[in-house]
């Protein structure tokens, strides 16, 4: 098979193969390096439930967290336009205070399952920079609003 086309000698071919392999390895190493550094810093956050967060508070203190929970009914305090929103989320046993200053997602409401992401400090509300509701791409109609 390999004799089909051989304009360069065997040593030349080996050199080409080594070079190709070298470039391939460089690409692979670059991807690996970028992925490794990408995981450091602010891109990664601990994904925990409210109870887990309380249990591991000291370990997670000062880091980014991503916490899932249901919005506690009646806990939403809208400020005036432009002011941050305060609310609490719960996983059934524990509750967590959240402060959020951005534009709320459309499906945000009492009892809705949300995932908040932001900086956590022990004893303070989570400073969320993102609040996600369940992904609309999942198509499922949300529980009947009118009951």
């Amino acid at each position: 098979m390999s004799s089909a086309v051989a304009t360069t000698g065997p040593t030349g071919r080996v050199r080409v193969d080594v070079r190709l392999l070298g470039i391939a390895l460089v690409i692979a190493a670059a991807v690996g390096y970028l992925m490794y550094t990408g995981l450091q810093g602010s891109a990664a956050s601990y994904f925990v439930t409210v109870s887990e967060l309380q249990a591991r508070a000291s370990e997670v203190d000062g880091r980014r967290v991503r916490v899932g929970g249901d919005v506690v009914p009646g806990s939403i305090v809208h400020g005036g336009p432009g002011e941050p929103i305060h609310f609490r989320i719960s996983d059934g046993t524990m509750e967590l205070e959240v402060v959020y200053a951005g534009v709320l997602p459309d499906i945000f409401a009492d009892g809705r399952h949300v995932i908040v992401e932001g900086l956590y400090r022990v004893g303070q509300p989570v400073q969320a920079d993102s609040v996600l509701t369940q992904c609309p791409s999942r198509f499922e109609a949300t529980p009947q609003a009118s009951g």
Binding site: V31, M35, L39, G41, A43, Y46, P105, I107, F139, A145
Partner: protein, 661 residues
Amino acid sequence: MAQLGSGALILALILAVYGIGASLLGARRRMPELLQSAFRATYGVALLVALAVFALVMAFVRHDFRLAYVAARSSRDMPLHYVIAAFYGGQEGSLLYWAMVASVLGALALYLHRNSDRLLLPYMNATLLSILTFLLLVLTVVASPFRLLPVTPPDGAGLNPLLRDPGMMAHPPLLLAGYASFSVPFAFGMAALITGRLGSDWLRAIRRWALLSWAILGMGLLVGAWWAYHVLGWGGYWGWDPVENLALLPWLTSTAFLHSIIVQERRGMLKVWNLALLLATFALSIYGTFIVRSGILSSVHSFATSDIGHWFLVYLSLVLVVGIGLLVYRLPGLQSERRIESVTSREAGFLFNNLLLTGIAFAVFWGTNFVLFSELFWETRISVGPPFYNRVVGPLLLVLLLLMAIGPLLSWRRTELPILLRNLRWPVAGAVAVAVIGLLFFERAWAAFAFAVAIAATLVTVQEFWRGIAARRRMARENPLVAAWRLVERNNRRYGGYLVHFAVFLIAFGVIASNAFQIERQFVLRPGERGTIGAYTVVYRGLDDRRTADAEVVSAIVDVYRGDRFAGTVESHRYFYRNYEDQPTARMGIMLVGMDDVYVVLDRWQDDGTASLRVYINPLVIWIWIGAAVFLLGTVTLFWPQPVPVAVRVPRTLPGAAKEA
């Protein structure tokens, strides 16, 4: 209607199982009648699935709320087009739609290839029917869209407001059709592996089918970006949402596939790689379909949401085990016919392009599933957000752009370096000019560099067209327009590919500009007050409140000035749909001024009309949508019927194919 639909699905399931047996037996015992009947079984399955879809759509149109699926997703006051669109708005319906696309395209492929690929067809048919058997099993056993409610409600719940948008009518069906249609090239690939006919004939058979799936999926992604930009209201078009990421994965691997099959066709290399890419693309399509349904990635409560996930997981493992097993079994027949002779050859260029594309796909896959991996390995769930993807994928995409600047200039086997450098003269000059200007005027150095690379790639592609046209003008004495038309028509694969490259460049310019130069400000304004953002002034005129058939609409009316010049009035809406009053859905006010999008989000308001508005200036985003149009044009060009139909039959007489038969 319910009986008709579920009956059709059960019949289709039986027919599909029969068709698999008949295909395999017919091929083994060489019984043409049995094979004929197996093919007819596939046509029958396609018809029956289409009938089930018809039954479901009719149930929606007639508001037959006896069906749980219809009652949960439509209501009497919804406009007709959304009622019909609601049919794929839920899990069961979207799976039915998946099955319809796969079976109809599969039947079409069987029919079109009935004379040209006789030896592959029985196994292609069996593979296709095995996919359909799985889907039909799920549709009849666990997720039937025709399940009846014990009590018929007077009216339905209506469709989730976020899905009531023209973009959402096109985005899910395109993505799902893209996923589903990869069944056809996958079935051909499996047939090649099973029969051991691993020459280039199976590749010719599937190139167009792979291209079709890839084009549909690509359009689906672009429409999804458009929808996110117009409805979600965070000023962007791509949020690295897990579901979008998963749709990007098969698109990336199939892009790699479409490039590397050129190498196999021309040089007889990369055979294992191509089949592996095909397998990966199909597996990722299944994975994308399955994970959307499972709720694993978007929720902390993993593996609890839907029992359908297990079915898909088992099926996915089955596909991978069988696929990889066959690939290993056929390794001896998949030796390259030639070796790469030089690092600066076109085949090496394609190889690097493939490595980059799969590298990007791997990074995105890793990031999207990192929640699962980190839990598996470190017992801590760690999720990664957009900064991860931007840091990892951004530089890789830039290298890919750089490769798009060099790749078209490489020759097969070996490129003479002086010629390459001469051809790169003008593009490099253009890039240097842009880089210098960018470094002088931009605050962000990376943007100058990125623009420079994109300019170089664009100029190389323009130069390719220009040289082709110039050659035709010399040889055939045609006027430039005729020359351009004939050039693309005669070499549609090459120049169609370049058109798609143009689309990529347009999108790249839009992405670079909107990432580097987006301005965002939050205003709290009383009616009549103004705010400035960048070169623009917005004047908030007040709120407007009106009613439509199924919703109440609150709109903020905003005048936009560029400098002192009045540019226009823009309205940003919030819809309160009946049954979904607590889920106001936004429609952004977006106005194009020059090349900037002025993007106004109505956040909150008070009874006295004071409103909180978030305004973004997004430069060049319009180029992304123009790029989408060019992408469509390029894919149509790639599909343009080729003038030599004989080409389909030639390979069978080639020594390479004969040897393996």
